[in-house]
């Protein structure tokens, strides 16, 4: 068998120019897939961590009621004893911290113009301890010990439409948890850019205490749990379920994967694009290799005839041709992985940026992630493609009529 494989290996390099052309195509396909897949993987990873760090956290805790009905008044379905729940959650291993949040909405006015806002109230210290980014593009983040003025961060789009800047005052109007109308004056501490223009046009953030005073409630909408690693999400989730079952309010836990709709859509889209690219590479390698291998078969017709005459089983001829194709695939895949990774390194150090995608306001760094599973997958793809490509020439070669093959010119 060793000698037979040696024969296949030497045959691969028999017509060097043709083999180099095939290797060029195979390795190019692998390198292309690695670069595209590595870029997609970087984008997906970045989007995942951005999604988590931008405030989604790894796990969110709501009351079960929150998902059963719509709120009549703000915080109708909020968590009452959230400090006790937070304390319980903090005892679980891998939990870095817990941040309370209130989601609310209302009107914001500068005295001349009013606009709708989507508000988010946070505990600045808790958010910072979890490493959540505040996305402040100018000014400063919310202070955990504000002075007499209530501070606010507003979206860049909202600031522009209200024609306000850092240090300017605004009045927030909202319906309290009792259904009454309440207002609070805020001073703009900073401008935030979420990266999504529609969000920036409505976004406003104040501290939790300020929101509870505005909404006249001690409740919160949810607790956001931050972990030491995204990989521990499932384990912590499984631990938290029984621990929170004894709370006066029934709780519902949501993993970040349940809440990150946009992330899932993007991942599905990228997976679809990558699958399509993989199919293109597969068929490109398949079609061109069939032609090359058929040419090889015709050139070696007399030699194959002689091998068959000497008692070589026809299955050996099939195996020989397939081995040669698979060897080309393996060599091409190795070259492709090396070239793809080298190009990836070059791209990563070049500091290239891609233009912002639709709906985004910031450009994305063009970085390529080195993904071992992608290297294995791309390599297997071209190897399988070449194995498929060799079936027709291999079967044809094995079915040659010996006498005719020996007389082939």
């Amino acid at each position: 068998m060793g000698k037979f494989l040696l024969l296949a290996f030497r045959n691969v390099f028999r017509n060097r120019r043709r083999t180099i052309m095939t290797l060029f195509m195979v390795s190019g396909g692998v390198a292309g897939l690695l670069l595209a897949g590595g870029y997609f993987a970087h984008m997906i990873d970045g989007l995942r961590e951005d999604t988590i760090r931008n405030g989604l956290g790894h796990i969110q805790i709501f009351t079960a009621e929150h998902f059963r009905r719509d709120e009549v008044h703000v915080l109708d379905t909020g968590i009452d004893n959230w400090r006790q729940v937070a304390a319980t959650v903090k005892t679980v291993p891998h939990v870095r911290g817990v941040a309370p949040r209130i989601e609310f909405y209302g009107m914001v006015s500068n005295g001349q113009k009013s606009s709708v806002f989507m508000g988010s109230a946070i505990d600045p210290d808790a958010e910072r301890s979890l490493g959540f980014t505040s996305n402040v593009s100018s000014g400063r983040d919310l202070s955990s010990r504000p002075g007499s003025e209530v501070e606010a961060l507003i979206g860049a789009g909202l600031a522009k439409s209200m024609n306000v800047g850092i240090g300017d005052g605004l009045t927030l109007l909202s319906v309290t948890s009792d259904g009454a109308l309440n207002g609070v004056d805020v001073q703009i501490a900073g401008i935030v850019t979420t990266g999504i223009s529609e969000m920036d046009a409505r976004y406003l953030r104040i501290t939790l205490n300020s929101a509870q005073r505005l909404l006249q409630s001690d409740r919160i909408t949810n607790l956001v749990v931050g972990l030491d690693s995204t990989a521990n999400t499932d384990a912590v989730y499984d631990t938290l379920i029984p621990r929170l079952s004894g709370q006066p309010q029934q709780m519902t836990l949501k993993k970040w994967t349940d809440l990150a709709t946009y992330y899932k859509q993007v991942r599905t889209l990228f997976n679809g694009i990558f699958l399509f690219m993989g199919l293109i590479v597969f068929f490109m390698v398949l079609m061109s290799s069939v032609n090359t291998l058929l040419m090889t078969m015709f050139e070696r017709t007399r030699e194959i005839g002689a091998m068959l005459a000497m008692g070589t089983p026809r299955s050996w001829i099939v195996a020989l041709f397939m081995s040669e194709a698979v060897l080309i695939g393996i060599i091409g895949a190795i070259i492709g992985v090396v070239v793809g990774n080298l190009l990836g390194v070059l791209i990563n150090i070049s500091g290239l940026h891609m233009p912002p995608p639709p709906g985004y306001t910031v450009s994305i760094p063009f970085l390529v992630k080195h993904v071992p599973s992608l290297m294995i997958g791309s390599s297997l793809l071209v190897i399988v493609s070449l194995a498929f490509a060799s079936i027709l020439p291999a079967v044809r070669a094995s079915q040659l009529q010996i006498a005719e093959a020996l007389a082939h010119v």
């Binding site: 000698k3 024969l7 030497r10 030699e303 091998m307 005459a309 008692g311």
Partner: protein, 234 residues
């Protein structure tokens, strides 16, 4: 009498356009073990067709061929493959050596197909190469060998597994007269020293001088079968 090869009223016709061309017509031939036999005749007389049929590379349209007592006409492909592998050695007009193998590896090939172990293959290939005087060229690839050397390697490959029958179809067609005579002499030496049966085809009259038995074909028929007891080798 037991013959190694019995060709009994064999015909072979090939389809051509809307009719048939008869390459071999009712040919009969008996060959005993250890014979050294030449099939002679002009181009198109049916020499290659006859050798292909005897070598189980083709099937007769009618008649039957017995190899070592076994009727090959009705055998399944796998059995024919096994027969060729174990009982027949082939020498081809165009050498047909595997170009990416060395001379030694080419000679080993029939043993590889038989499943012989690597060290045994090496030893037997060396013996075969020595018998054709090319042991010193064992490591050379065919493209570095002369035409005469290539054909001697092909002869070594044909005898390495000690087949009952060696078939050589126009083995000298691509050689000059000097190398052609040397090759026939070499085959005759091997025939005498190893007791192998050789059947070779040629259209070169000069090569028949040292051949004890000559079967002449003409238009697909056996025109003459001459046994020359007086031939003295060497």
């Amino acid at each position: 009498m037991d013959y190694l090869v019995k060709v009994e009223a064999v015909s072979r016709r090939f389809p051509m356009d809307h009719s048939y061309v008869s390459a071999l017509d009712n040919a009969s031939l008996h060959v005993s073990a250890g014979e050294f036999l030449a099939i002679a005749g002009p181009s198109g007389s049916g020499k290659s067709t006859l050798l292909n049929l005897v070598g189980c590379l083709d099937k007769p349209t009618s008649g039957r061929i017995l190899l070592d007592g076994e009727d090959t006409s009705g055998l399944k492909p796998a059995r024919l493959t096994a027969l060729r592998r174990d009982k027949i050695g082939f020498v081809f007009q165009t050498f047909n050596l595997i170009p990416v193998f060395t001379a030694s590896e080419n000679v080993e090939y029939p043993l590889l197909v038989q499943g012989v172990g690597a060290s045994e293959r090496g030893k037997r290939a060396a013996v075969a190469l020595e018998s054709v005087g090319l042991l010193s060229r064992a490591g050379q690839r065919p493209d570095l060998l002369s035409g005469g050397e290539r054909q001697r390697v092909a002869v070594a490959r044909a005898i390495v597994h000690r087949p009952a029958l060696v078939l050589a179809d126009e083995p000298t067609a691509n050689l000059d007269s000097h190398n052609a005579t040397q090759l026939i002499d070499l085959m005759r030496d091997l025939n005498l020293s190893l007791g192998l049966t050789f059947i070779f085809s040629t259209h070169d009259q000069r090569l028949l001088e040292h051949t004890p038995r000559i079967v002449r074909l003409c238009d697909g028929r056996v025109a003459e079968d001459t046994l020359r007891q007086e031939v003295c080798h060497g």
